[in-house]
């Protein structure tokens, strides 16, 4: 097979597996985890745009998720919008916020960008907890509605069912991955990669690096906003807890574990960060410690993540069968 064709084999195979999964997996809880993992795929793709492509670590993914989640929920419950319209608005609101806060923070580089974005996440969290007349504070909002039923060709799709919601998140996750893929292979993606490698050179070449950084940051926030809205309408209950800094660290972990700067990495990483706590459930108290250790060891010994490692192993494996 030519190299062009093989690039599509693995994505299509995994997409097929994900499409068939609800038919094969009969345990409802696994489907529940599957939906969460797909939501995290969207977050991780967004995180990867900034962290993996551009080389700027943003610690605000969960904050923007929270903005999307609360925006969509409040538009539905307070203004009586349809869930679909609210969900479509959620990424726009997250993106708008990203434009406003991105401007000052993208003036600093490296670690300081990380710190500033983390401060944003903290501010969002503080506001969600304290602005209780709007957000319900720590006790949260109950009864977040599911999306309205949808009729195509006489079939009615009921989003109260897990299967329907699974496919909704799958479509969104696939869409997010495709968008990131398109960005990566466009001129914009090339500039982002160039910024990661040598930002002063990009500036010196007459390219306005900050515009591209801003684009990556805003798109990433929009993806997190979608993920937050999907999360809110799926769980049906909303409080600030899942939107704290530790969840943003989870997004970073997903990108690092999977393989930063690759398209498949965030997908693998998202499934891992949703699956890992389930495995570590027996040792809830050790969860943080194991997580932290994993992050440290991965960065030291496997800085490129699992996907490039697997790709390398696969390359070695196939080269065994090739004619010399």
């Amino acid at each position: 097979m030519s190299p062009v064709k093989t690039t599509f084999v693995w994505p299509l195979l995994s997409l097929l597996a994900l499409v068939l999964a609800p038919a094969l997996v009969q345990v409802p809880y696994f489907l529940h985890l599957g939906i969460l993992a797909l939501i995290w795929v969207i977050v991780a793709q967004g995180q990867n745009l900034v962290q993996g492509f551009t080389g700027y670590v943003s610690i605000a993914a969960a904050g923007f998720m929270g903005v999307g989640a609360y925006a969509s929920t409040l538009l539905t419950t307070k203004l009586g919008w349809s869930v679909w319209a609210s969900m479509a608005c959620a990424p726009l609101i997250a993106a708008l916020l990203a434009v406003v806060v991105g401007y000052p923070s993208l003036r600093v580089k490296g670690h300081y960008f990380a710190i500033v974005t983390m401060a944003y996440n903290l501010v969002i969290f503080i506001v969600l907890i304290n602005y209780s007349s709007l957000t319900g504070g720590e006790s949260g909002i109950t009864g977040v509605p599911k999306p309205e039923n949808f009729s195509v060709f006489g079939f009615t799709i009921n989003f109260e069912t897990r299967n329907a919601y699974y496919y909704l998140t799958l479509i969104c996750a696939a869409f997010a991955t495709v968008i990131c893929g398109l960005v990566l292979h466009s001129r914009v993606g090339r500039v982002l990669l160039a910024i990661r490698q040598n930002e002063p050179l990009v500036d010196a070449a007459g390219v306005f690096a900050w515009r591209y950084k801003m684009f990556a940051f805003v798109l990433s926030a929009a993806l997190c906003g979608v993920a937050g809205a999907l999360y809110a309408h799926f769980i049906g209950f909303l409080n600030p807890e899942p939107f704290g800094v530790d969840q943003s660290l989870n997004a970073i972990l997903a990108v690092i574990l999977g393989g930063s700067g690759t398209l498949a990495g965030p997908v693998v990483g998202a499934f891992l960060v949703v699956a890992l706590p389930e495995f570590l459930r027996v040792a809830e108290t050790y969860r943080l410690i194991v997580y932290g250790l994993l992050l440290v060891l991965t960065t030291i010994f496997m800085p490129r993540g699992i996907v490039p490692l697997l790709a390398y192993a696969w390359h070695l494996f196939t080269s065994l069968f090739k004619k010399r």
Partner: protein
């Protein structure tokens, strides 16, 4: 007016703690170029050790704090040697991600060892003076004096000893320092030890003034970085000025606006500085 002075006084005390945390961060950043995010949890661990020494072994406060600073310095050495040094030649962002991992780990270990409850370090300094309406608590005075003494001691060490000269040499020009026979790895260890000891002092003081609780380490280190952004990266005078400004503005915000949103105001100050003076108040262009 007296209320204003009261808030400023309280703000200076908490600002002194921010300064101690920020000086540790700024020397690590200025000399080694590492954004040592795990500094906050190291400081907190030191606070817990101080608490443990006082409550379980009956050690007097300042002795307990000194011992905790030694423990913290050792923890700092371990962190440098086993977590940061393996990635010293990789991209800077890797060190930062490692710092995040360390933060989670040490936080988890603290939670395991000391539990999730709030703990206040008991001190014998409970007197309260009244200066024409201004309420001056003895503890806050001790916090400021301790901070001042530690800063003077650190400056003395850096400016007058041979090791200090090596540290300054590495800060100015790493490769030239190597060529002059300075052992850069040893300097890194000393810097981390020094920085962690100062941080632990900050942790112990904040534990005495407010309380120790899980998550405080993160909030301390973020304040510390906010101070660095305010004062200028790698600048010790910047850290002092920035820490005091942050402490006072936070206290004023809590007193006059809203205590729930005081952290928001601290971050707003930081963002405004970024917008208008990205190099910090005392930083070089």
């Amino acid at each position: 007016m007296i209320e204003f002075l009261q808030q400023v006084f309280n703000g200076l005390a908490i600002g002194a703690v921010y300064t101690l945390i920020a000086i540790g961060l700024t020397i690590v950043f200025g000399i080694l170029g590492i954004a040592h995010f795990a500094h906050g949890v190291v400081a907190m661990s030191g606070g817990y050790v101080t608490f443990f020494l006082i409550e379980k072994l009956g050690v007097p406060f300042f002795v307990a704090m000194m011992l905790a600073m030694v423990v913290g310095a050792i923890l700092g050495l371990l962190v440098e040697r086993f977590a940061y040094r393996p990635v010293q030649n990789a991209a800077h962002i890797n060190a930062f991600i490692i710092a995040l991992g360390l933060t989670m780990m040490i936080d988890g270990l603290n939670l395991l060892a000391f539990g999730p409850d709030q703990m206040v370090i008991r001190t014998p300094f409970q007197s309260v003076f009244n200066l024409a309406g201004l309420v001056v608590t003895e503890l806050r005075v001790y916090v400021m004096v301790t901070t001042a003494v530690l800063i003077v001691a650190m400056s003395f060490f850096v400016s007058r000893t041979k090791t200090g000269r090596a540290i300054r040499a590495v800060a100015q020009n790493r490769s030239a320092a190597i060529l002059m026979g300075v052992n850069v790895n040893a300097v890194a260890l000393v810097v981390f030890g020094l920085s962690s000891a100062l941080g632990v002092a900050g942790g112990a003081l904040v534990g005495a003034m407010l309380a120790l609780a899980p998550g405080l380490g993160e909030s301390l280190v973020i304040k510390g970085f906010a101070v660095l952004i305010l004062g200028g990266l790698g600048s010790v005078p910047g850290a002092i000025v920035g820490g005091l400004i942050l402490g006072v503005s936070e206290a004023l915000a809590a007193g006059y606006l809203s205590s729930a949103y005081k952290d928001v105001i601290a971050f707003l100050v930081m963002i405004v500085v970024l917008l208008f003076r990205p190099e910090g108040l005392l930083g070089k262009k």
